[in-house]
């Protein structure tokens, strides 16, 4: 059946008509096969133009439309809407761009007209082989999953926990609060960190729309945007949270002691433990990897000591599968360990900033007292900026928050131990944003001695008797303690965890956003959003902002009672042609192609496909088709421009 093509040529006021001979285009179009209607208008995109186009489509029973006008980037959607309003599928329209790419870039009128004819010819040839495409929609689950209950994960969960929503908040530790719960003061205003954190934690614990799962981890992720099935393993805590009042009476009877990671391994804990006083949820957990009972011994000491009968060894790990529409990943960060900075490796009393944060914390290993290994007050503490940072040998980036953090630590040291002489060894200051510079200027009054040095990673450090001698900035500093401001790095478990999610990771090991500037909370994996330091170093304010953005993005697409609208121009595999070579699978940036083990062919998931066509061009069998950019369509265009 032959098509009935309408060609609509636009003068665009003088913009096109002054350079391109549009009546000549019209003459050309009229001579083409299957073209039944050709019209010139001074401005097709105007209201009058659109009405006239709509009438022409209906009156002439057009089956295809070519609009020979401006760039499709300008008005493709405008004219697609006209087709739709005339009852024609919007994908049966093709534009020939004769304004931006012809009239505005060509001086010679004859040449411009010739080029415009070529582009018009190509559009006519293409439109003949275009196919109607329908927008697909799918049902979706409206619950959410947030992974990580630090400040970012909690902020995302609280934003997501709107009316009629359920949010699963999964935390691998037995407690919530992430890294921020380890801090007592927050830079740059030195506000009380627990005061800002605790109301959030309290809300998370008591919000009935948030299902908090501590001591839990993700063990499997299936499905995709709109319909994820996630398996969560909750390790048995062996302590009944309902019965336990968090008195701590069970800790000291436990015969096992191991390093307490929460305190940077500077203190010890038992197998039944709370990492620090005041954990939430307020109950200890038994760490089965170190508990004697789970190594075959019949120790019952904690059970015997509990006056509330809260300890239950029979509890088993539980697996639960949940169905959610979207996932927010907020798996946080670690700081590079001081041992990894080679010039300080192996020297005792060298701490990273997180460890020192714990030293000065009233809930830390020394309950906030700054003492040397032999129990005395340190005479000299040296803070070293940029250790392990801004250097090709380590991490090339600047974490952006450690200068302010180091100033904070020095300031708190001065308050707690006024007699201690403090050095800050720095190479450059990075103090962007509100209040940071003022914070630095205020802390100069602390009488800290600033020593400028080229590169922290070239400082010579040796231990002589009880002193660490640092050669930096032309000085020899004899310090009792050294604190290294090491970079914020991706969580040590991120790579292993990512095997479940298959997200893009950047060259520094952080999760990469779909676009770092214009969609910082989205990822290439539709329906998976990122928040906080798992996507790069951030301060608390930036983390919370990204978390709330991630939640907002998820809320805006997953709406109860509404279906998810899918990309139209996706790719499709022809099962008869596919040889099952797998070439396309690894190429897809969106993990949209999988292998159908039953049919032994590749299968494109239309929910994830964005229609780039990389797989189409890669398929050695020509088995994959991009619905709106088929080979046939592209070939027609090529023939058209060259005819």
């Amino acid at each position: 059946m032959s098509e009935r093509i309408g060609v609509f040529i636009c003068d665009c006021g003088p913009n096109i008509a002054e350079v391109v001979d549009t009546p000549k285009l019209s003459e050309f179009a009229k001579k083409q096969d299957e073209v039944v209607e050709v019209k010139i208008h001074k401005l097709w995109c105007s209201e009058g133009g659109r009405d006239e186009m709509k009438r022409a489509i209906i009156d002439n029973k057009l089956t295809r439309v070519v609009v020979c006008a401006c760039s499709p980037k300008q008005h493709e959607i405008t004219f697609q809407k006209v087709l739709a309003s005339a009852g024609l599928n919007p994908y049966l329209m093709q534009m020939a761009n004769i304004r931006e790419q012809v009239a505005w870039v060509t001086k010679d009128k004859d040449k411009a007209t010739q080029k415009a004819i070529s582009q018009l010819n190509s559009a006519i040839k293409r439109v003949k082989v275009q196919k109607p495409l329908e927008k697909n929609e799918i049902e979706c689950k409206t619950d959410f999953l947030v992974i990580g209950a630090g400040i970012s994960g909690m902020s995302a969960a609280l934003t997501l926990a709107q009316k009629n929503r359920k949010v699963y908040l999964v935390e691998r530790e037995p407690w919530i609060g992430g890294k921020v719960v380890a801090y007592e003061d927050a830079f740059p205003k030195m506000e009380c960190a627990p005061c800002m954190l605790e109301p959030k934690m309290d809300e998370v614990l008591h919000n009935e729309r948030i299902s908090l799962m501590t001591n839990s981890e993700i063990t499997n992720v299936k499905g995709f945007f709109g319909n994820f099935q996630v398996q969560i393993k909750t390790r048995a805590r062996h302590v009944d949270i309902e019965k336990c009042i968090g008195c701590g009476g069970c800790y000291d009877v436990c015969p096992v002691t191991v390093k307490n990671r929460f305190n940077g391994n500077l203190s010890e804990r038992h197998a039944i433990y709370s990492a620090f006083p005041g954990v939430l949820p307020n109950a200890p957990a038994i760490d089965c990897e170190t508990c004697l009972r789970y190594k075959g011994e019949d120790c019952k000491k904690c059970e015997e000591s509990c006056p509330f009968g809260a300890i239950d060894y029979s509890l088993k790990d539980e697996y639960k599968t949940i169905e959610v529409g979207a996932i927010v990943v907020a798996t946080g960060f670690d700081v590079m360990k001081s041992e990894e900075v080679k010039n300080f490796a192996g020297i005792s009393e060298v701490y990273d900033a997180y460890q020192f944060e714990r030293i000065i914390s009233s809930t830390g290993p020394t309950e906030g007292k700054i003492v040397t290994a032999d129990g005395g007050t340190p005479e000299v503490i040296a803070f070293v900026h940029c250790a392990g940072s801004r250097d090709k040998r380590y991490k090339e980036y600047c974490s952006g928050v450690c200068c302010a953090n180091t100033i904070k630590l020095a300031h708190l040291t001065k308050k707690k131990s006024p007699a201690t002489k403090i050095y800050e060894i720095y190479s450059d200051w990075c103090l962007p944003g509100k209040n940071y510079q003022q914070f630095h200027d205020k802390c100069i009054a602390d009488n800290v001695e600033y020593v400028r040095n080229d590169n922290a990673n070239d400082i010579k450090a040796v231990k002589k008797s009880n002193k660490i001698i640092l050669t930096a900035g032309g000085k020899n500093i004899e310090a009792d303690m050294v604190v290294l401001s090491t970079p914020i790095i991706p969580n040590y478990g991120l790579v292993q965890f990512n095997a479940l999610l298959g997200m893009n990771i950047d060259s520094d090991g952080f999760y990469s956003a779909e676009h770092e500037k214009i969609s910082p909370a989205n990822t290439a994996n539709r329906g998976i959003y990122i928040a906080g330091c798992c996507s790069g170093p951030k301060d608390v304010a930036q983390s919370v902002a990204q978390a709330q953005a991630a939640a907002g993005m998820a809320l805006s697409v997953i709406v109860p009672g509404e279906k998810l609208e899918l990309e139209v121009a996706t790719s499709k595999v022809n099962d008869d042609l596919c040889g099952g070579c797998h070439s396309c699978i690894g190429l897809c940036p969106y993990q949209a192609i999988s292998f159908d083990e039953v049919k032994k062919v590749a299968a494109v998931n239309e929910i994830l496909c964005r229609g780039c066509g990389v797989c189409v061009a890669a398929c050695p069998a020509g088995a994959i088709m991009n619905k709106h950019f088929t080979d046939e369509q592209i070939f027609s265009e090529i023939e058209g421009v060259l005819a």
């Binding site: 760039s71 505005w104 940036p589 780039c612 066509g613 990389v614 592209i634 090529i638 421009v641 060259l642």
Partner: protein
């Protein structure tokens, strides 16, 4: 060089950067040689070597594939795939007797109207020097045929 020879160049432009860069050249009223005829694709990674060969077969004297700059691809990394593919294609074109300067892969961003103008002018000049492509595929002869 043949006097008054006007080469026909086909440009495959990715929708997000280079096609927008071509529009930007228009917005800035830069010169773009009318020899260039444009085919829009969503991503330079969609360009199949067959498309390039087809263009030469159908009468193009030169072919350009323009995509987003490395690292800027709208689809993350389609342009890297185009890069790998086109490197191999260059070798094939050489085997077919098509001169190196008749094919160009380059990166033009949406803001680079001036670069779009420059690379297209350069392309036309180079192909003008080479003259018309004399090797064409003949439908009746699988091996192809050399003719004027």
């Amino acid at each position: 060089m043949i006097d008054n020879f006007e080469p026909r160049i086909v440009g495959f432009l990715c929708n997000w950067c280079s096609y927008a860069g071509a529009d930007q050249a228009g917005n800035q009223h830069k010169e773009v040689p009318p020899n260039l005829k444009i085919v829009r694709v969503m991503c330079s990674g969609r360009v199949d070597p067959q498309h390039v060969v087809k263009a030469f077969q159908s009468g193009a004297d030169g072919v350009m594939v323009l995509g987003c700059h490395p690292g800027d691809c709208h689809y993350k990394e389609g342009n890297y795939k185009a890069l790998r593919r086109m490197k191999l294609l260059e070798k094939l074109l050489h085997e077919l007797g098509i001169e190196k300067d008749r094919f160009k892969l380059d990166w033009v961003s949406a803001s680079e109207g001036d670069k779009f103008s420059r690379v297209t002018i350069e392309m036309v000049e180079k192909v003008k020097k080479l003259g018309p492509l004399t090797i064409r595929y003949n439908k009746n002869n699988e091996g192809g045929e050399r003719h004027e």
